[in-house]
Symmetry: C2
């Protein structure tokens, strides 16, 4: 009968682990994976609180990337040296550790408790190991209801830590690739803008304004981020415009102006080479149509009203505003206030009224003044 | 006693599933994930053979992306319409299916057996479903030793299919991002080359030659792919050279030639903006040093021998060869044979002898003639 009980509890434990593993791997986005790892672990082992530490190999530090339990917000982003405290020892040795009474343990870095106000009694610390490399650690604090953990809890934690480490590692690989793609797009935009001294930082500012507008209009984060990246590339077609036209300080001839207008078509054409096609739809529309205007006076196709893709209308407003408010060869650049006035004046004729109203609302909010200033100077962005 | 046996077998099954889930998620590379899913499934359920079908939503087709068992190589890449055969029905309905005797089943698309020569008796087909969307299916053929599957086998297959689907989905997301990054780099290189009519397709050819050389020197696939991507960007610094110098048909003045030489430093500088830094080390070295020569006669730093990073020596040879063998404003371009002769003549003075020997070996091998020709024409690459 005891054997049946034991087997039943083993089955229950394994079912729990299997379900947890499914949850862990149901996403690649770093933030969600971190939360999921911690939550699964706290639930499976039955802890009062938990912290997930991630190793920053370059800086030789470890940082709390997720925290669960009372006063968890106080310990988020706390950093320790890579060999500091109990967690540092576990990361160094790769061995899980159960501490019955933390208070009397020599390695206890009690400044974490100090910061959080939480009183740690019993603690399990398990390393997150992938292919022999420790990439983080999980700390589980105080067994629910009875305060102290058992040996069985630690073996459960180790089993789940193996699954968690893989999920974290996959998410880190994905995150790295995403950051690489973003920084490649930003670098490309920056380099292209730099061909013309008057447009330095232009693409980055337009992308940032577009992002603000989309946020104000209530788009979700993935959509806002996609728009930001797409907006960075709105002028990529200028790569196909010769220097002597692009940088000409004097008035352009009609032929030269026609050549400049072609940057929209060239840009859309360049972007349509990028795989997978599905991911580039908005970027292509934006490159093609950010100079279209509601009343049909824009280029390259003279589209009218709703025929202009909405994201292109957003970037069109951001682009026009930046052109007005930065110095050009022919003007020293209007103030933000007059830029907004001009947008409002052309609402419904040239520019989409929802977009203009959203942008005007942002720029009139005083909280944004410093950001605006930074934006205007073309520095200080971190998406 | 029966209850203990049942519980024991349940524990065994769950342990197997948990271990399988760990294997499934230990990688993000598509090829390895596909193999791993199939292998885990075949082993866990105990099948004689298995096929992993993946849905191609755009083309409304399903394709065998991995196969296990006798004559598996014959069915790899076989395609069916998305609703064809038993697998099409399972993908359409999202419901797993156990067929005791395939031969008499009305939906059996026996042209797959025809192609493989394998005789299917009993078959389990399970959908791979992620967040309600069917992204593929697994077919398990003939229970080992006893030929026919049971209801228990199908429930095991379904449990593992849930884990497999997540692993496949994650791998697809990662793959998509990788393809996007690669096609962005290739598009960028192509667009930059197009600024000068004499260098159209240059970066792509140099990258391909560099890849061949690295393969011949025995580098592993990830390293070869990294070199390919890095080599695509070797001339990115030319973005900073004005049109009138870059496209000048006449002889360059000393000052103009100095400006051209700066593309190496500009390129390294641009690439050092890209995150994460670790991933760009080779690309930066290649951009900086692909014009260095063994005897110190190169630029920008006049590095000597081993001081020139090895990958920059590879790209240096590929770059010099392409410059010799394509038409320029000042020459109609040498034949491949005279290009190789020239490389061999400058071995050990300008070019690394291992690199030159490897490249000469490739170009003299007759199997490469068509590829060479395509390369020379600047088309036909798919990494």
């Amino acid at each position: 009968m005891t054997q049946i009980k034991e087997l039943e509890s083993k089955v229950q434990e394994l079912v729990m682990l299997l379900e947890a593993s499914k949850q862990l791997n149901s996403n690649l986005e770093m933030g969600e994976v971190l939360q999921s790892i911690l939550l699964q672990m706290v639930q499976v082992v039955g802890a009062e609180a938990g912290t997930l530490w991630v190793v920053d190999q370059e800086r030789k530090m470890i940082r709390v990337e997720a925290a669960y339990g009372p006063s968890s917000s106080n310990i988020l982003n706390i950093e320790l040296a890579i060999d500091e405290g109990i967690v540092g020892k576990v990361i160094g040795s790769g061995e899980a550790q159960l501490i019955e009474n933390v208070a009397i343990h020599p390695n206890w870095a009690n400044r974490v408790d100090h910061s959080s106000g939480f009183v740690t009694k019993s603690m399990i610390t398990v390393p997150l190991t992938v292919k022999g490399r420790v990439i983080g650690a999980l700390q589980l604090l105080n067994k629910k209801n009875i305060a102290f953990f058992s040996e069985q809890d630690i073996s459960l934690a180790v089993a789940l830590a193996n699954q968690s480490a893989l999920a974290l590692h996959n998410s880190q690989m994905y995150d790295e690739l995403q950051r690489m793609l973003l920084s490649m797009i930003r670098t490309l935009a920056k380099v292209l803008d730099a061909r013309d001294p008057y447009t330095a930082g232009h693409s980055e500012r337009v992308a940032k304004y577009s992002l603000w507008i989309a946020e104000a209009l209530g788009y979700d984060t993935p959509t806002c981020e996609e728009l930001y990246k797409a907006a960075l590339l709105h002028d990529i077609g200028k790569i196909g415009i010769p220097d002597d036209i692009l940088r000409k300080p004097d008035r352009l001839t009609n032929d030269e102006y026609d050549a400049i207008k072609r940057h929209t078509i060239i840009g859309a054409d360049i972007l349509s080479n990028i795989e997978p096609k599905g991911a580039m739809v908005h970027a292509i529309q934006i490159a093609m149509s950010h100079h279209e205007r509601l009343n049909g006076s824009g280029y390259p196709h003279g589209l009218i009203g709703e025929d202009i893709p909405f994201f292109a209308r957003i970037v069109g407003v951001a682009d026009a505003f930046d052109a007005m408010t930065t110095a050009r060869s022919y003007s020293k650049g209007a103030s933000f206030a007059s830029g907004v006035e001009e947008l409002l004046r052309c609402k419904d004729t040239l520019f989409d009224s929802r977009v203009v109203d959203a942008f005007a609302g942002i720029l009139q909010g005083c909280d944004f003044k410093i950001d605006q200033y930074e934006a205007h100077q073309g520095r200080g962005y971190h998406l």
